[in-house]
C-alpha cells in the first residue's frame, strides 16, 4: 500500500467514524415531560423508568408552572425540536398539548408526535379519548391511576359506619374538577349519601382564589358534611397544607386520591397508587412506543394495578376519628 493510499484510508476511516458519531448523537431520542407544577414523583418515575430500562432517550422537563399560556409554546417547541414523544401530567396540561378528540386536525395541538398522558382524572369524560380500551386517537395513549369513585365512598363508610353526607370543594374553571363533581353526584342514589359541592372563588385571571379555601371549608361544615373528598383539583393538591389544615381545624376529615396529601399534609385518608409508580407506568407506555415501535392508538390506557389505603393517625387523633379495628388490619399508617 502506498503512502497516499494509506492516507486516503485513514481519512476515510476518520470521516466514517465522525459520521457514525453524528448519527449516534442524532439517534438519541427526546422525550418531553410536560408538567404543571414542577417535576414531582410522577415525573421522577418516568425518568427513572427510562433510565433503568436503558431507553436511548433524554427526558426533558417542560414545566408550565401553573401557567396555561405556556402550553402552546411547548407544542411549538416539541415540534420544532423534533421530540419523539411527549408525556403530559394532569388534565389541563394534556388538554393544552394533545387537545380533545375533536381537535385531531387542529395544528395548535400535537397530532404528529406520540403523547402519553398521566394523572388525568377522567380522560374519557374530558373528551381526550374515546375509551380506556381504544383511545380513538392515533397518537395518544396514557395511564389511569385512580380507583373507581364508588370505592372511595364505600371506604368512607367503612371508616365511618354512619357516613351519609359528603362535601366537595371544587374548581369551577377546571373541567376535570367539574367532571368529578358530576361523577360523584351520579353515585348519590345508588350509594345513598348526600353530596354538597362548594365552588372555590375565582381570581381575575380565572385561577381559584387560595383565600376561598377557608370559606369553602366553613360552608361545607355548615352544611353538615362528615367527610370532604378532594375529587380532582390540581389547585387544591398544590394548596394541600392550607386545604387539609383548614379541614382538620374545622373538624372535618379529608379523603384524597393523592398519597402525598396524607403523608405530607393533613388529609386523613387516601386510596391511591404511589405517584412514583404512576410515573413508572407511564414509562412503560413510553417504552412500548419508542422501543417496541407500537402505535399509541393501538395501546389501551394502562391502569395502575396496586393501590393502598393510607391513614394519617395524627390527623385521626386530632379529629378523634380513629379507624375501626378491622380497617387497621390492612391500611398503611402514617404517624
Amino acid at each position: 500500500m502506498t503512502r497516499a493510499s494509506k492516507l486516503v484510508s485513514v481519512l476515510l476511516v476518520a470521516v466514517g467514524s465522525c459520521g457514525l458519531l453524528v448519527q449516534t448523537v442524532e439517534a438519541r431520542m427526546k422525550i418531553g415531560m410536560v408538567v404543571w407544577i414542577g417535576c414531582e414523583d410522577v415525573c421522577r418515575g418516568v425518568k427513572d423508568y427510562v433510565s433503568e430500562n436503558q431507553i436511548d432517550a433524554d427526558v426533558i422537563v417542560l414545566d408550565a408552572a401553573q401557567n396555561p399560556a405556556k402550553l402552546p409554546g411547548f407544542v411549538e417547541q416539541l415540534r420544532r425540536e423534533h421530540f419523539d414523544l411527549a408525556v403530559t401530567w394532569g388534565t389541563k396540561v394534556t388538554l393544552g398539548i394533545a387537545g380533545r378528540l375533536a381537535d385531531h386536525d387542529d395544528p395548535r395541538f400535537l397530532t404528529d408526535i406520540p403523547v402519553v398522558f398521566t394523572v388525568v382524572a377522567d380522560p374519557v369524560g374530558s373528551g381526550i379519548i374515546e375509551s380506556y380500551e381504544l383511545t380513538g386517537r392515533d397518537s395518544v395513549t396514557g395511564t389511569r391511576n385512580r380507583v373507581p369513585e364508588s370505592v372511595n365512598i364505600k371506604s368512607m363508610r367503612r371508616y365511618m359506619p354512619g357516613f351519609d353526607h359528603l362535601g366537595i370543594l371544587y374548581d369551577a374553571n377546571a373541567p376535570n374538577s367539574m367532571l368529578k363533581v358530576e361523577e360523584i353526584r351520579r353515585l348519590t342514589d345508588t350509594l345513598q349519601f348526600k353530596l354538597d359541592a362548594v365552588p372555590l372563588s375565582v381570581l381575575a385571571d380565572g385561577t381559584p382564589d387560595p383565600d376561598s379555601i377557608d370559606s369553602g371549608i366553613a360552608a361545607l361544615k355548615e352544611k353538615g358534611v362528615q367527610f370532604i373528598y378532594l375529587g380532582s383539583s390540581a389547585f387544591l393538591e398544590k394548596q394541600s397544607d392550607d386545604f387539609t389544615g383548614a379541614a382538620v381545624a374545622a373538624g372535618l376529615a379529608v379523603l384524597t386520591p393523592y398519597e402525598h396529601m396524607v403523608t405530607d399534609s393533613h388529609a386523613l385518608m387516601s386510596i391511591a397508587a404511589r405517584d412514583y409508580d404512576v410515573g413508572k407506568l407511564a414509562g412503560k407506555q413510553v417504552a412500548k412506543i419508542l422501543v417496541e415501535g407500537m402505535r399509541p392508538g393501538d395501546l389501551p390506557v394502562l391502569a395502575m394495578e396496586e393501590f393502598a389505603y393510607l391513614v394519617n393517625m395524627k390527623v385521626a387523633k386530632r379529629l378523634d376519628l380513629y379507624p375501626p379495628v378491622e380497617f387497621l388490619q390492612f391500611v398503611e399508617k402514617v404517624n
Partner: protein, 943 residues
Amino acid sequence: MSLLGRLWVSTIAVIAIVLAVLSLFSVLQHDVIFSQLIRQRLAVTVEGTARPFRSVVEMGLPVSMMRNKRDLLERARGTDPAIKEVVLFNPSGIVVESTPARPPGRIPREVLQVQLQSIDSRWSLETDTELISGASIRNEAGTVVGGILAVYPGTELKARSAAVARQIGLASAGLFVLFSAIAYLILRARLKAVVKGLGRLEHALASLGHEGRRAAQSDVSSAKLGLLGNALDKLEEGLDDASRKYKLAKARLEALLPEDAAALALDGARELVLVGVPETALTRSFARRLTPVIAALALGSALALGYVAYLSINESFRPEIVKRTLLIGTDAAANIQRTIEAGVPIDKLVGGLQYFDHILADFPEISYFSVVTDEPVLEVGKHSARARSTRSSFPITIGGEKVGEIVTETNPDYIATQFRDVVLDLGVVVLVIILFAFELIVVVMAISVTGPLDRLHHLVDLQAGGDFSKRLIASTRSEIERLGTSLSERAERLNALFAAARRAIMAGAASNNGPSSREVLGPGFRLAGRRPAVLRFCSSTDIRLPLFLFAMADELPLSFFALYARAAENPFTWLSDGFAIGLPFAAYLLTALLSAPFARPLGKRFGYRRLFVTAAVLTVFAKLGLFYAHNIFEVVLFHSMNGIGFAFASLACQDYVLDMLPKGARSRSMSLFRTTLFSGVFAATALGGILADRLGQRPVFIICAGLAIAAAVLIWRLLPVGQPTIASGDERAEEERLSFNVLAPMRNAQFAAIALGIVIPQAIIDHVFISYLLALQMDEMGRSVSDIARVMMCFFLMLVLAGSLQGKLWERFRRPASVLAGSSILAGVVLLAAATMPSTWTILLAASSAGFALGMSGGPLAVLIMESAEGPLAHLGTSTVLGAVRVLERGGSIIGLLLIGAVTDYAGYSGATGIIGLITLAGAAGFVLLFAQGRKAIGRRNP
C-alpha cells in the same frame, strides 16, 4: 387337626381379622380427625388473613390491587413457623401474591376444584404431602373473586399418625395374644363335652366297622349338653339305624357271594351330586353354643381396641383444640396490639365489638372475648363465671409495658360436640367391624363346624334310610370329618360287595342288565354298584360373605356419589346440573331393572358361579371406569354397567339360595339373604364416608373393585361347579318377572291407591331423597362425607328396626292401610320440616323417620299387594301384578330422579326435599281416598 384346634384357629383368625381391620380403620379415622384438626388450626390463620381482603373487596377493589398484600401474607405466615406457604390467588387460580415468593403460576387444579365445590367460604384438603386450608373471598354479590390458602407440610400429621399406628399396632398384638388365650380356654371348656360326645360316636362307629357291637355308652351325659346333647342323641339314633342297615345289607350281600369271592375294587369317575341342606337341629344347637362365644371374643377384642383407639384419638384431639383456641386468642391479641400501636387508645377501640363478633361467628370454639385494662373495656359473647379452666389471657403491651389484656373463654359445648363426633365416627367403625365379624363368624363356623355337621347328618340320614349310594370327601381330620369318612367307607364297602354280588348273579344270567339293589337286597336299600357319588353341599352360608363383600363394593360410594357426579364435567351444556347429577342414578336403576329378567336364564345356562363372577368382573370394570371418569357421560356409562353387575350378582345369589336349597329352607334362607345384603349396604355406607374423607373419593372406587374381586374369588371357591339343579318348582320366576302392562292393574282403585299413593312416593324417598338429595343438601351445609354417611346409616338402621318392630306388632295390629297411610304422612311431614328448616338435625330426623316409615311399610305393603293380586286382580295373575309393582317402583324412582334433579336447579336442594315431602303427603291423601273407594266397591260387589 382336632375339632378344638380347628375351631380355635378359626376363632383366632376371626379375632386377627377383626383387630387388623379395626386397627387399620382406627388409624385412618385418627388421621382423618387429626388432619381436620390441623387444617382447622390452619384455618384460623387463613380466616384472619382473608378478613382484610374481604373488607377491601367489599369496598370495590380487586384483591390484586392491594399494595400491601404481601405484607399481610407475611404477617399470616409469621403466626405459625410451621406454615410453609401462604398464597393469594384470583378466581382463575392464578397466583396473585405468595410468601415465600414463587414464580408466576397457578394453584393446583384440585385445590381450585375444592374451592369451587365448597359452598362455605372455608374449605380445606389434604394432598399426599401437604395439608391445605383455604378461605374464599367473595364480593358483595356473593361471587368468589379470589382466595387465600395456607399450606402445612404433612410431616406433623405423618409423625403423629405413625405414633398412633405404633400404639394401636402394639395394642392389637397384645389383645390378639390375650384373646387367643381366652378363646382357647373358653372353647376347650365349651367343646370338652361335645368332643367327647363325637368321640363316643366315632368309637361306636369304629367298633361297628369292625363288626363288633356298639360300644357301651360313654360317661358323657347328653343331659350336660342340653339341646346339643339332644341333637347328638338324634344323630346317634341315626347312626344306629344306619349301622343296622349297613349290617343287614352287608350280611345279605355276603350271603350272595361264594365263599372265596372278594369285594370288587371299584374304579371309574365319581358322580357329583349337588345337595341343598338346610340347617339341622344339631347344627343350630352347635352354632348357638359356639357363635355367642366367638362373637363375644370378637366383640370384646374390637371394643378393647376401640377403647385404645379412643384414647389415642383423645391424645391427639385435646392438645390440638387447645392449640387452636390459643391461636385464635393470639391472633386477636395481635390485631388489637396493632391497633393500639397505631395510636388508638385501648378504651376507644372503634369497631371492636363488630371485630370480636366476627371472630365469634367464625370460630364457635370461643364463647367469650374481652379487652381488659383495670376493668373490661369491651366484652363480647357469653361470659361464664365458672369457666376458669377454659379461660386464657393474652397481654397487650406498648413499649414492653403491659397496658391491658385480651381474655378468651373456650366454648365447652362446642368442644363436647366436636368430641362427640369423634366418638360417633369411631363407634361407626366398631359397629361396621362387628357386622363384618359376624359374617366372618358365620362362614368360619360353617367351614369348621356346622357345615361338616350338616354333611354328616345328611349322610347319616341317607344311610339310615338304606341309601349307600353317596359318600363324603373329607377335607380335614376333625372328629366330625372322621365320622363322615367312616360312614363313606361303609358305603364304598357295600357298593364293592354289591358290584361283586351282582357280577356273581349275572354270571349265570343271559341279560347284560344287572339286578338293582332293590332286587338284590329288597326294598329300603339303595346301592349303585359303582363308586358312590360324592355329595357336594349347597347352603345359604356359601353366598353370605361374598354377598356381603359385593354389597359393600356396590354401595361403598353411596354417601358421596351424588357429590362425585356433581364434580364431573358436564360437556352437555344444555343439561341442567341437577338433571345431570340424577342421570347416573337413573341409569343404574334402569339397567338393573332391565337386566334383572335375564339373570335367571343366564344363571340356568351358565351356572350361578359363572354369573356371579361375570357380574363381579362387570362391577370391577365399572368401578375402575368410575375411578377414571371425568365427565358425566362417563359416570353415567360406568354406573349403568354397575347396575347390571349388581342385578346379576344379587340375583345369582338369590337364585342360588332359592334353587339349591330345599323348599322348606327357603323362607329362612331368603331372610338371611336380605339381611346379608342389607348388612353389606349398611356397612358400606358408613365406611365409604370415612374412606372418602380420608383417602379422597376416587380411591374408594379402587377399594370397591378390590372388594368385588374378593367376592368373586370367594364365590368361585365356595359355590359348586356346574349348572344348578332345580330342586323345586319354578314359582320364584314369578317374583322377578317384569310386567310393563301397568295400566291393567291400575284400573283397580285399591291397586292404584297402593301404587300411586305409597309405592312410588316411597321409592322416590329411597332413591331420590336418600341416595341423591341428602348428600347434596348436607354438603351445601358444609358437612363432611362422614357426616353424610352417618345420616344415611341412620336411615338404613331405622329401616331394619322398624321392619322388625312392624313384624312384632303385626299380630296385634293388623291394619295395613292405616300403617301405610301413617308411615307416609310421617315421612312427608319430616321431609317438609327438613325442607323448611334445613339443618343437620332436621335432615337426620328426616332420614331416620323416612327409614322408620319405609321399614314399617314393607310388610303391610306386601299384604295389600298380595290381597289385590289374589282378589280383584286375580284374573291378571299374581306375576303380572307383582311385575307391574316392580316396574312402577323402579320407573317411579327413575322419573322422580330426573324430575327432582331438574327441579333442584330452580328450587335448590331443600326445595326439592320439600317437593318430595309434598309428593309423599299427596300420595298418602290419594291412597286414603282411593283405597276407601276401592273398599266400597268391593263392599258393593260383595254385600
